[in-house]
C-alpha cells in the first residue's frame, strides 16, 4: 500500500496523475486528495472490504462520485458543442435574415443541413410546395451524388480547412446553378402532386419525420426512396403560420449513419428559421414582380397619356391651320388677282409694271407656302375612310387597355352585335374617339367599377356603341360644358378629348351623345350613320367633276 496518502508532501514522479503545472499538489496533502487521490485507481484497494460498513459506504460513495464526475465532464463537452453550434446557427440566421434572394437562402439552408459543424447530413434537397395545387417542385439540392464524390469533397474540405463560416460566404449565383444542375434529375423526379392526407401527415405538426420503411402508406414517401436510393431519410416540413411552404429531405446515403436524436430539436428550430426566410424571400419576389408590373403599367399609362395629348394637340393644330388658311388666303387672292389684272393693263415700259410684277411674285410665293402647309395638315388630319369592323376595332382597343383595367380594378363587359356591317370610317380617328371615351370612363372610376360596352344596330341602319360606366358621373353644370374645347375637370387633361371626339364623329357624319347622373355614372353613345357613305365616296372621286 502506497503511503502517498498519509504524507503531507510527496516527491517528484511519485504520483502519475499530477501533470506539469500542478506541482503545488505535491506540497499540499488535502488539496492533492480532493483533486487526484479520490479518482486514483489504487484508492479503492485501500478500503477494507470484509463486512466493514464504513468501508462499504466509502466504496459506494467513491464510485458514485466518479460516475457523477464523468457525467459532468460529458455534459461540459456537450455544452461546448452546443455553444459552438449556436454560434454557427447564429451566423446562419444572420445570413438568412439579411438575404432576400431565394437562391442564397436555399444555398445557406442546405449548406447548414450538410455541414459537419451543424447537422452533418450527407446530402439534402429542398422542395417548394404550392398550397393551391398541392404540388412539390424541386428547387435545390446540395451534397455529393456518389460515394466517390463524397470522399473527394470531404477530403477537400479537410485539406483546405474550409470552415463553415467561410463556406457560408461562398454563395454565388454560378455556384448555385452548378450545384442545382448536379441535382436536376432528382429535382425533376421529385416533382409530385400529393393528396390531402399526405399534406396533413407532413405538415400536421408531427415535426421532423424520419422515414425508414418502404412499406409506408404514402406514395410520395415511397417515391423519395426510389429516387434517392437510401436506407432512410429525414423529411423536415417547412411552414409558417400562413401554411406549408416546402420540405427539406436529408439523408446519409454514403455513411449510412443514423440521425442523432439530440439533433432533432435544433433541426426543427432551424427549419422554422429557414421557413421564415424562404417565405420572406418568396414574398419579396412576389412584391418585386408586382412592382415591376406596376412600373410597366405606369410607363404604358404615361405613353397613352402622351399619345392622347399628342393626338389632341395635332387635332388642335389642324384646326388652327384651317383657320389661318382661310384668313390669309382670301386677302392674298384679292391682292394677287387684282395685281394680275393691273399688270395686264399696264405697259411693260411703265416703271409700275415691275412693281406690280414683284407684288405678284411675292403673293404667288406666299400662297405656295400656304398651300403646301395646308396640304400637309390635310394629309395628316383628314379623314381617310375605309371599311372598318367596329367590333374588332373595339376589341383591339379593349385588349390594349386590359392591363390598365386590371390595375384600376375595372371590370369590362363587351356585348357586341355580330351582325353589324363594316362602317366606312377612318380607323385611326375612330380609335381616338374610342380611346377618349374609354379613358374618360377609367378616369371616372378611380375606385374601380364596371364598364359595359355594347354595339348595336338600330332599325334605321345606324350603328350605336354605348359605353356605360359606374363612375362618379357629372353634374348638370358640367354636362353643359363637356363639348367645349379646353374644358376639363381633370388634373391633367387638355380639355380637347370630347371636343375632338365630337368633331371626328361629325366629320364622319356621325354623332356623340352623353347621359350622366352625378354619383351614378355616365353613358356615352357613339353613333355611326351606317356604311353607305363610303360606297358613294369610292365612286365619288371620279364623279367629282361631272
Amino acid at each position: 500500500m502506497p503511503d502517498c496518502l498519509s504524507r503531507e508532501k510527496i516527491g517528484e514522479g511519485e504520483c502519475p496523475y499530477i501533470l506539469p503545472g500542478e506541482e503545488e499538489l505535491r506540497e499540499n496533502r488535502e488539496l492533492r486528495i480532493r483533486r487526484k487521490c479520490l479518482y486514483c485507481k489504487r484508492l479503492l484497494d485501500l478500503i477494507p472490504e470484509e463486512e466493514d460498513t464504513r468501508g462499504f459506504l466509502l466504496k459506494i460513495a467513491l464510485e458514485e462520485l466518479r460516475e457523477k464526475d464523468r457525467v459532468i465532464r460529458d455534459m461540459k463537452d456537450f455544452l461546448k458543442l452546443q455553444k459552438e453550434q449556436i454560434t454557427v446557427l447564429h451566423r446562419v440566421s444572420e445570413v438568412l435574415n439579411l438575404s432576400l434572394d431565394l437562391r442564397e437562402i436555399a444555398y445557406v439552408v442546405l449548406l447548414s443541413i450538410t455541414a459537419g459543424e451543424l447537422f452533418g447530413f450527407n446530402r439534402s434537397i429542398l422542395l417548394l410546395y404550392d398550397r393551391e395545387t398541392r404540388v412539390f417542385t424541386g428547387y435545390f439540392g446540395m451534397g455529393p451524388r456518389t460515394p466517390a464524390e463524397a470522399v473527394k469533397i470531404w477530403e477537400e474540405i479537410e485539406r483546405e480547412r474550409k470552415s463553415f463560416p467561410v463556406l457560408l460566404e461562398s454563395f454565388t449565383v454560378d455556384k448555385f446553378e452548378e450545384e442545382k444542375n448536379k441535382f436536376l434529375d432528382i429535382l425533376e423526379a421529385l416533382e409530385t402532386e400529393i393528396d390531402e392526407g399526405t399534406e396533413a401527415f407532413i405538415f400536421g405538426g408531427k415535426g421532423t419525420l424520419i422515414i425508414r420503411e418502404k412499406g409506408l402508406e404514402f406514395p410520395f414517401f415511397r417515391k423519395i426512396f426510389d429516387v434517392l436510393k437510401t436506407p432512410f431519410y429525414v423529411l423536415l416540413p417547412l411552414k409558417t403560420k400562413e401554411g406549408p411552404i416546402g420540405v427539406i429531405i436529408a439523408d446519409n446515403f454514403v455513411t449510412g449513419l443514423d440521425i442523432r436524436p439530440e439533433r432533432i430539436e435544433s433541426l426543427e428550430i432551424f427549419a422554422y428559421q429557414a421557413s421564415l426566410a424562404i417565405h420572406r424571400a418568396a414574398l419579396h419576389r412576389y412584391l418585386e414582380d408586382k412592382l415591376r408590373e406596376l412600373e410597366e403599367l405606369n410607363a404604358a399609362l404615361k405613353q397613352y397619356n402622351e399619345k392622347m395629348a399628342k393626338m389632341e394637340k395635332m387635332a388642335a393644330v389642324g384646326e388652327i391651320i384651317h383657320h389661318i388658311t382661310h384668313e390669309f388666303k382670301n386677302p392674298l387672292i384679292v391682292i394677287g388677282g387684282l395685281s394680275k389684272e393691273l399688270l395686264k393693263e399696264t405697259d411693260p415700259s411703265d416703271s409700275r409694271y415691275r412693281y406690280l410684277q414683284a407684288i405678284n411674285e411675292e403673293v404667288e410665293r406666299l400662297l405656295d407656302i400656304l398651300n403646301r402647309t395646308v396640304e400637309d395638315a390635310r394629309r395628316r388630319f383628314s379623314v381617310r375612310r375605309e371599311p372598318v369592323d367596329i367590333n374588332s376595332l373595339l376589341e383591339s382597343r379593349l385588349r390594349e387597355y386590359a392591363p390598365l383595367f386590371k390595375a384600376k380594378n375595372i371590370q369590362v363587359n363587351l356585348a357586341k352585335d355580330e351582325a353589324i356591317p363594316p362602317v366606312m370610317v377612318d380607323p385611326s380617328q375612330i380609335q381616338v374617339c374610342f380611346d377618349n371615351v374609354i379613358f374618360n370612363a377609367i378616369e371616372a372610376m378611380p375606385e374601380g367599377g364596371r364598364l359595359d360596352i355594347r354595339s348595336e344596330r338600330n332599325s334605321g341602319g345606324s350603328i350605336r356603341i354605348s359605353f356605360k360606366d359606374t363612375g362618379v358621373g357629372m353634374s348638370e353644370d358640367v354636362m353643359k360644358r363637356i363639348f367645349e374645347p379646353y374644358f376639363t375637370t381633370k388634373k391633367r387633361g387638355s380639355g380637347l378629348g370630347l371636343y375632338n371626339t365630337r368633331e371626328i364623329m361629325k366629320a364622319h357624319g356621325g354623332d356623340i351623345e352623353v347621359e350622366s347622373r352625378e354619383g351614378e355614372g355616365t353613358t356615352v353613345y357613339l353613333i355611326f350613320t351606317g356604311g353607305e357613305h363610303g360606297g358613294e365616296r369610292e365612286k365619288g372621286e371620279d364623279t367629282l367633276r361631272r
Binding site: H322, T325, H326, K329, N330, P331, L332, I333, V334, I335, G336, G337, L338, S339, K340, E341, N360, V363, E364, L367, V374, E375, R378, S382, V383, H533, E536, R537, G540, T543, L544, R545, R546
Partner: protein, 128 residues
C-alpha cells in the same frame, strides 16, 4: 339656244367683298354679266329675282348659310342650273355634298382655272 350677243349671266357668291370686287372686274371684262351676292341666303333671293341666271359660282365657307347648304337649295329648286364651287379649301371635296356641283375650283389669284370651268359649264348648258 341663246340669242347671239346675249351675254351669259353669272352669279358670284362670296362673303369677302374684295373677292367680289375681283370677280366683278375680271369676269365683266371677260364679257359676262356679273351679279354678286355676299351670302348664301342673299344668293337664293337673287336667284329667285333673276330667273335667267346661267351659272352660279359659290364660295363654301361663309358666315351664315354655308356654300354647301346653298348648293343643296339650288339643286333642289333649279336642277339644271350649273354651279361651280370655288373655295379656299380643297378639303370640302371630301364632303359628298360638294359632288352635286358641276366643278370644284380651289381659289387662286390665277383665275384661269375658274374661267375655264365657267366656259365649260356654260357650253355644256348650251348644248344640253
Amino acid at each position: 339656244m341663246e340669242e347671239k350677243g346675249k351675254r351669259a349671266k353669272i352669279l358670284f357668291v362670296d362673303d369677302d367683298k374684295n373677292i367680289r370686287l375681283l370677280y366683278e372686274k375680271v369676269f365683266s371684262e371677260e364679257g359676262y354679266e356679273v351679279l354678286l351676292a355676299e351670302s348664301g341666303e342673299k344668293a337664293l333671293e337673287v336667284l329667285k329675282e333673276n330667273e335667267d341666271i346661267d351659272l352660279v359660282v359659290l364660295d363654301i365657307k361663309m358666315k351664315g348659310q354655308s356654300g354647301l347648304e346653298t348648293l343643296q337649295h339650288i339643286v333642289k329648286e333649279k336642277r339644271k342650273l350649273p354651279v361651280i364651287l370655288c373655295s379656299a379649301y380643297s378639303s370640302f371635296q371630301d364632303d359628298f355634298t360638294s359632288w352635286l356641283a358641276d366643278a370644284y375650283v380651289v381659289k387662286s389669284p390665277d383665275l384661269s382655272e375658274l374661267k375655264f370651268e365657267i366656259k365649260k359649264a356654260l357650253e355644256k348648258r348650251k348644248s344640253g
